[in-house]
Symmetry: C2
Subunit: 131 residues, 2 copies
């Protein structure tokens, strides 16, 4: 129960007594049953419990959020999960890097053209003055 009136979502799903020192209770409240169900399906309650126990209390909420995110990704894409998202983002980075390199090359090119034109103009002006 983690001190509250009803057992946490984890203990409810696992059909066990929710004690006041339940490791899941602070992160899996009874009104969000799906959140625990999904991480349990992907990682297993025992593994999640072990992972949380190995972390300091102040990092556990972040760890639970990232596990829920990862489990959702695995449900949506059972073959690639989060790794599919990583691959997609890496491709996007490659494309942006290429576009940026092209834009920077274009800037250089325009600047060089301008310098040449200015040089050309100076030469024409000099020639005009020498006539």
């Amino acid at each position: 129960m983690g001190g509250s009136s009803s057992p946490c979502a984890s203990c409810k799903l696992l059909r066990r007594r929710c004690t006041k020192d339940c490791i899941f209770a602070p992160y899996f409240p009874p009104n969000e049953p799906h959140k625990f169900a999904i991480v349990h399906k992907v990682f297993g309650a025992s593994n999640i419990s072990k992972m949380l126990q190995e972390l300091p209390i102040q990092q556990r909420a972040d760890a639970v959020n990232s596990l829920v995110y990862e489990a959702n990704a695995r449900m949506k894409d059972p073959v690639y999960g989060c790794v599919g998202a990583i691959s997609f983002l890496q491709n996007q980075i490659s494309q942006l890097e290429m576009q940026l390199a092209m834009a920077q090359a274009e800037i250089l090119c325009i600047q060089m053209q301008n310098n040449n034109n200015n040089l050309c103009e100076i030469q024409i002006n000099n020639n005009d003055n020498n006539l």
Copy 2:
């Protein structure tokens, strides 16, 4: 054994008989014990077996590779795992998008300056001719 002489890495770790239809054997050969150990620690053998069973055979190798990648990421970063990498890549994309927008603005700015200069030159030339 998956038909080979020694049990696969999974059956060896789980201390069970490796039959010729073992679901793990094609992806966890005995010479790579660490590969199974790490996914077992993060996802649990039972969950991995279920996930593989739900996939067509031709997608299972990719699924195993992505699970190994995800499990390695969770070992390296027990709080954020793969989600840490996603967050890092998303920040990189934001920075690149900003740099690209700045470069494109610079190109526009130079082009507008050039157009103005050309217009100015044309007007000067016209004025010269009218003298």
